[in-house]
Assembly symmetry: C2
Homo-oligomer: 230 residues x 2
Amino acid sequence: MSSVARLAEIGALIGDPTRCAMLVALMDGRALTASELARAAGVTPPTASSHLAQLTQADLLSVIRQGRHRYHQIASAEVARMLEGLMAVASRTAAPQRVVATGPRDQSMRDLRTCYDHLAGRHAVAIADGMAARGQIVLSPDGGRLTEAGEALLRTLSIDVPAEPGLLVRPCLDWSERRFHLGGGLGAALQQAFLTRGWIRRSEGSRAVSLSPDGRRALADLFDLEALRA
Amino acid sequence: MSSVARLAEIGALIGDPTRCAMLVALMDGRALTASELARAAGVTPPTASSHLAQLTQADLLSVIRQGRHRYHQIASAEVARMLEGLMAVASRTAAPQRVVATGPRDQSMRDLRTCYDHLAGRHAVAIADGMAARGQIVLSPDGGRLTEAGEALLRTLSIDVPAEPGLLVRPCLDWSERRFHLGGGLGAALQQAFLTRGWIRRSEGSRAVSLSPDGRRALADLFDLEALRA
DNA sequence: CAGATGCTTCGACCGAGGTCGAACCATCGA
DNA sequence: TCGATGGTTCGACCTCGGTCGAAGCATCTG
């Protein structure tokens, strides 16, 4: 298959609303079952099965079999990056969404949620802003850099500072905020550190992430987040 | 329209082989007419017109009217980045293409060509490798950084070194080489510098870029490209 | 072994959309 | 004003693929 044909194949896979809903649901980096994805996309199991087979066949998803369950997940960070690129264009030109029945879950999603392997949402944007304001990172649309001050911060969190500095900052356009948060190795390392410290906890069946009281205090102090002190 | 629906819309647009061929043809950053794009995609003018209207309507392309010509181009760097992300995934999993009738044009395309606003191909990969080997840049899949040595190189080329250093290196996976070359602000600045010096020249009706004798010598010296001395 | 549950395959239906020829509109040159 | 050329609109055709119910397969539990 030529590269153009393969490109069109991937586009066609993303071009169906049902498959799209599944991919978006999987963008939090977790593996979900066919039934969960069928519910998320609002179709019957046979339809979901057909779509998942196509996405897996095309190496956009990978499957882990565990007993009678089959867990589907985004196949690679490269695929996740591709989807982020698409979402950035989609969110920029999408008409402002009607806000319908904004429940507590929606609010917590907007506050903090996972984005494949890192954190997104209002607080994640604030963290990126705070680090940039204090000169711990330098951001641009094409990439970013970790500074000496940033390395110092990572050491206080016991995150290994890589030998090659400045290579792990990737800005990621935030759906809800339309501003940048931290992806790349830095974003992943921060999320990992917050999880192991029990500062954040993933919710069941949602990309939303909840803050523990400890986490709320710690993040407020570390990144000067006034919103978390309220 | 919801974000998911907009995402699916963009996917569907990319999902048609004809539109895909047009987008790929436009990825060199130049503006092409409807007729040229119809030829590139192998369809009749009415078909091309319909597709171009859709792509323009969705803000993936923009149109410049000049007399009875209408020049179509990629609407933004963001769209170009999105397409690069798709191509990275597409090229990684695409079956090795049958090499059919490799003409001189194909060879020069593989050597050096434009990739939206920067250079790609064998020599572009060699330039990125050379700069990395000599510590002028540091590369990773998520971003890169310009070093002191790299800034010195830019000064010898009379390229303005930005106030915030290290923000303009974006690795871009090369179709033909399957390795990284330089995108982002640095890639664009280098291409611009080479063009204004007359070292490279864009071909008519192709993404291929030709090297002048001067350019061949200059690039060979600047980046230690043995391939260019032969 | 038997029932329950998760998931897939099969077959039939149906709507969406890509394609082209013909005709039409817009702009340029003489 | 009158071709000539670039580009679009219209209408008819036809294929492709998404959808679901029914049935079948696989795996766990009792």
